[in-house]
Point group: D2
Chain length 114, copies 4
């Protein structure tokens, strides 16, 4: 994870509400972090079962497409958990830190890749 | 993979060009199958590295969002490999088998979940 | 509509089943064409009402976002009508014309922009 | 625009920075509003030209699909303008008003339809 590349405008000492082990940048709320991790673990298991199904010469294209879409739905769910945590913990509090512009620019940049 | 659920309109004996070990339904071209499997293996590894990164309390939301988007791009690539194989091997030949309607209905149904 | 740019691999005299006024390229099934046109007319009306709503200084961002998403859903519906017609009339018959590769390449190229 | 349906958690008297003609809810920044309106006007013109192209029996499916994708890209651009304005003017300031939860719930609800 290339944390360094985007960390600069966010090297702000968080308030007490931010459960961060370091004082150097905004950290993910613990609840989002754990829930996203669980969802990613499930998606990874599903992805592995699709990969294994491709060892069978009889596998059917459309079944594989459907399964890939299901994993993408699961990843959308994981991303939604992370996004909600970010909006609540970091974006909604930006005006109190004074980094509104930087934090919104950064988020809009991510949406470009959606 | 619930192959059974959608196999009915596709229980057609394939021509010799279809590298299928059974004669019961259309099979995925071997090349697509292997290339898609390789891409899914890479995506699974990336997903696992994101999941692990979430064990670090210092991980940053926006980095996680970016990484999830990257995996979704990889899954789009894997799905494109499967879709291309399906279009070439099964959809483009539908009129020669006479199952145009069934094969197009099935594919449009998958796109709904895109 | 820059028809010329992509017409080359498709300059094929269509069979009698293709309701085409010229013999130079594959044409859209009339039913798809009319249904897509109706859907686009509705989407355009909706888009115009959103644009007008933006003249009101009291309009709320989230309402505008919701309305834009609704128009995008309507355009997805119009695109699905066109895609289904294309798959049935042109892709499913490709092996009978011998242009499988060209027609699939062209379609995969469009999906890239989805 | 069904403003009423979602206005409740947002019936907050805006601060002086919000260029709102009423005191009843959060309003769109004027710059976003004008830029989004211009983009929607262009998209509507493009949509009308696609609809008109469908009157021609010779129009080709894949050209129509490409044009519809182009309009969807333009709508994504208009939505990005509105979203950025909303994030800067309303989400980034939520903690100063105390409606973080309501404003994030509302925004996440919109993303579901993306």
């Amino acid at each position: 994870m290339a944390k360094g590349t985007t960390a600069e405008p966010l090297d702000i000492t968080p308030g007490e509400g931010e459960h961060c082990s370091t004082g150097h940048h905004l950290c993910m709320p613990e609840d989002s972090r754990k829930r996203a991790a669980r969802r990613l673990a499930i998606a990874r298991g599903h992805l592995e079962s699709i990969r294994r199904s491709l060892e069978d010469p009889d596998v059917y294209c459309v079944d594989v497409l459907r399964q890939i879409k299901a994993v993408q739905g699961a990843l959308d769910g994981a991303a939604a958990v992370v996004l909600r945590g970010h909006l609540e913990a970091h974006v909604a509090t930006a005006a109190t830190r004074g980094d509104e512009k930087a934090i919104v620019d950064e988020l809009m940049d991510v949406f470009k890749y959606v």
